[in-house]
Every structure is written in structure tokens, then in C-alpha cells.
Amino acid sequence: MNTQAILEIDGLSQAYSRNLFRKTQVFNDFSLSLEPGKIYALLGRNGAGKTTLLNCILGLLAYKPGEIRFKGETMRPGNLHRFLQKITSVPSPTEMFPTVSANQYMDFFRKNYDNWDKELEARIRNMSDFDWTRQIKALSTGQRMQVLQALALCPEPELLLLDEPLGVTDPVVRKYFYKNLLSVVAERETTVIIATHLINEIANLFDEALFLKNGCLIMRKGMAEMQSDYQKFIFDKLPDVKIEGEVGRMIGDAALLSENPEKTEMDLQTRGLKFKQETPSIEDVFESFA
């Protein structure tokens, strides 16, 4: 496998103008490097900077200072369209033109990209259960997602960005969306970044989770690493004091997450507190860090 980073973000700073005089700083000197062929889960609470980061990569938002490099080449507003041949995204279905048909969309995209996987297009069409001559407004959200999936995958991207792709869809749509997506990206070794809040659904899909908090990357780990590095301690009532090794708490579960289970166990025994131990789920880790 090629080990050169597919995407490098270096010293990125981005601020939203709330009005002429006020700005909200989202990123300040943010850096990240992604390896090719991996699936990354971009996690964080609302406002952590997930969408902003993806929009910066896509050139939808300006940033200054900072540099984003795709396969070693710096992306600038002037040359961005070249990179967008290889970086695709799945936008929200509400962004689609309502009176354009799915077929017309496919034709338009096919003519705009240098590469187009006709075989994959045929495969997605065969698996779909709707008429592609129908207008977008006549399709359900799940059907629109199938069109968007085809539009994002057929150009044979090397980097695929998904921002809350399935927020409003039912579980069946979500299941098949990821199933189809994974089969394609596995074949091609496409790098994927999925920003989502439905973390349990992607728990078995990603290679690495990138936790964002207030525009900072606070943790970067794989699922197995997360479960071996941390331990969940459950109580009847959460202790009032900070426990040794504690990295965060899950208030609803009356539990805490520890990065050093032995120390935590000793501390709890010293304090005479009763507890149960469990391997944490990704949701537990998310809640503790978020």
C-alpha cells in the first residue's frame, strides 16, 4: 500500500464572520495527516468543527493561514477544481435541484468528471428500486441518498467525504448505504472520512476515529485500541472527587472512563467505593471525551 499521506492539513486556521466586527474561531493552527485507503470517523459534538473541516477540504470555506495538501500538492482556490476530480462528497439531499431527474444528474456528472465507473453505475442502478427518470422531488430521502451515493462513487474518488450522510434516513437505508459504500471503497482502497453522530452504526466500519473538540483533535485511535486503552467503571452514584486515571464521565450511566484501570481500581478500593468494570463502547468513549 502507498504510505504517502493522501491528505495533509497544516496549521489550519478558520473563523466564521458572525458579522462585520465579530468572528468565531473554529480552528486555530490545526494539523492532521491521513493515510490512503483508510476509513476515518470524524467525531465530536455539535460545533466541534467537523463540517467546517470538511468544507475547508472541499474549498467551500476559506481559511487563513494554513495549508491543505492532497497527495503532497497544495490545494488553492485557483487549482481546487483539479483536486475535486479525485475528492467527492455526499451532500445533504436537500441541496439537490428538485426538478432535475436522477438520470439527468447522472448525465451531468458523467460529463464533468474525467473518470466514470460505468460498471458501478449499472450496479447501483440495478440494486435500486425506483425509476431514474423521475425528478428528485418525487424520490424519497432514501432514494435520493442512492442517487447521491452513485454521484459520489462513480467518479472513482481517492478521497470521499461524508458529512452526516444519513441523518434523516431509516435504519434500512442506513444499513444498505454503508454496505454498498464499504464494498466499493474496499475494492478501490478509497480513503473515506465520515462525520456523524450515529457513532454506534459506524463502530465496526472505521479504521480510526478522530475526536474533535472546540476545533482541536483531542484523540485519534482505532476501535480495538480504544477498547484496550480504556476501561469503563460503573457506580450506583458517581463519586464527587476526581479519580486517578479518569479521563471523562458518562453522567447518564453513572460511570467514568479510565485510561489507567489499575490505578483507578486501587484509588476506588482505597476510597471504599463499589463499582463494576466493563469494556467501553465507542459511544462511552465519545461521551467521556466530548
Partner: protein, 240 residues
């Protein structure tokens, strides 16, 4: 580029057909009412006025604003995700607008000629006023170009401003700028004019309206445009 323009047409064909049908219906209705009045003897003259719409100024003003409009919350950024430069996207919209104007103007002008021709065939004693001439068509096209140009300039300025501000702020700045100019021109004129000592009389108000009906109409266009966007909650314009 051709594909992009075709996509805009496919997206807007419904609205275009609706606008054309509404304007044609008004035109037909206007002629029909006058014809009935004439036949019933309520019309003093033998002349019927064809209600012709000068679409040039309207599309010229609102069209430029359509180019500016991108919607809120990331909507309308669909095309920006494609491997096209933003100037291609911009140019695509502008060419689409020009074609849209040409189609609408040609349809309305031909309809006016056709209606006048058919009525004249049926009632040869009738005369018509307001039938568009080629000169009128030329003037309408000119007003479309004259009005589109400053708004396209503003749209380009908007892109330029986005280097420093968010797209929302850049657009708000432009709207503020347009409003400031609309308000500042009459005030400055009043201040600089020796006959105005900052006293507004009935006469001065009348003179003001007489003199500045252009900017006032432009202001009204703007208010209408944003009012319409609010009413439709950007439903039809957000993806433009």
C-alpha cells in the same frame, strides 16, 4: 458549460413555463376585456392597447440578484462541490440568465404580435397601440443589459469580498451597500442642492420622487426580491 446551462434550464423549466403562462394570460385577458368593452360600446375609441411587459428591466434587475443569491446554511453549494471553477459556475448562471431573457422576451413579443394579428383579422376596423416594434425589442434588450451589468459587477464584488468575509457577510455587505447608495443619493442631492435647505415641502417631496424614481424603483425591486425569498423560504432560489 453547455451542460451547466442545460442543468439550470432543467431545474428552472417549471418556473419559466409558469412565469410565461402567467404573463401570457394577463396579456390575453387585457385584450379580451378591451375587446368585450369595445363590442359592448363602452370603449370611446377603436383602439385597443396590447398589455406588453417590459421584461428587460425586471430580469435585468432581479437576474443579477439571482446570481448573487446562494441560499443559507450551505444550501446552493452543490455545484461548488463539482470539479469546476467558481467562475465557470458564475458564467453558467449569467449565460443562463441571458438565454432566459431572450426566450421570455421573444415569447412575449411574438405573442403580442400574434394576438394583434388574429384580432385584426377578425375585426379589421380595430386599431392597436402598444404593439412591440423591433426598436422596442432593442430598447428592452438594452435595458436588460444596462441593468444586468451593475448587478453582475456586484456579484463579482461579492466573490471578491468572500476572500475576507464569509459568503453570508459578503452578501449582507453588498445589500447594505446597495441600500446605502439608494438612501445616500437623494440625501446628498438635497444637501448639495442650493434650493434645499433641509426643508422638505410637498413640492420638494414631489420633486424628489420625480427625480429619483429610478433608485426608488430599484430599492423596491430589492425589497420585493428579498420579500419573495423570505416568503418562499428560499425554496425555489436556494439551489440557483
Amino acid at each position: 458549460m453547455i451542460e451547466l446551462i442545460k442543468l439550470h434550464f432543467k431545474n428552472k423549466q417549471h418556473s419559466l413555463i409558469q412565469i410565461t403562462l402567467i404573463l401570457l394570460s394577463i396579456m390575453l385577458l387585457g385584450v379580451a376585456i378591451q375587446l368585450i368593452s369595445w363590442k359592448m360600446g363602452h370603449l370611446d375609441t377603436n383602439t385597443i392597447k396590447i398589455p406588453m411587459f417590459p421584461v428587460g428591466p425586471w430580469i435585468g434587475t432581479l437576474g443579477g440578484l439571482f446570481v448573487l443569491a446562494r441560499g443559507r446554511n450551505g444550501e446552493g453549494k452543490f455545484l461548488s462541490r463539482l470539479p469546476m471553477t467558481k467562475y465557470e459556475v458564475f458564467l453558467g448562471k449569467v449565460i443562463f440568465l441571458a438565454i432566459l431573457y431572450a426566450v421570455l422576451a421573444a415569447t412575449l413579443f411574438s405573442a403580442a404580435w400574434l394576438i394583434a394579428g388574429v384580432v385584426k383579422l377578425l375585426y379589421p376596423s380595430l386599431h392597436f397601440s402598444g404593439i412591440p416594434t423591433f426598436q422596442g425589442l432593442g430598447q428592452d434588450s438594452l435595458s436588460f443589459l444596462k441593468l444586468t451589468a451593475p448587478f453582475l459587477f456586484l456579484a463579482a464584488l461579492g466573490f471578491w469580498l468572500q476572500k475576507w468575509f464569509s459568503s453570508d457577510t459578503a452578501r449582507n455587505l453588498l445589500v447594505l451597500g446597495i441600500l446605502a447608495i439608494t438612501i445616500a443619493i437623494p440625501i446628498l442631492t438635497m444637501l448639495l442642492s442650493p434650493n434645499h435647505l433641509l426643508i422638505l415641502t410637498n413640492n420638494s417631496i414631489a420633486r424628489f420622487f420625480e427625480r429619483f424614481h429610478g433608485p426608488l424603483l430599484a430599492g423596491l425591486d430589492l425589497a420585493l426580491f428579498f420579500g419573495a425569498m423570505g416568503l418562499y423560504r428560499l425554496r425555489h432560489f436556494r439551489n440557483f
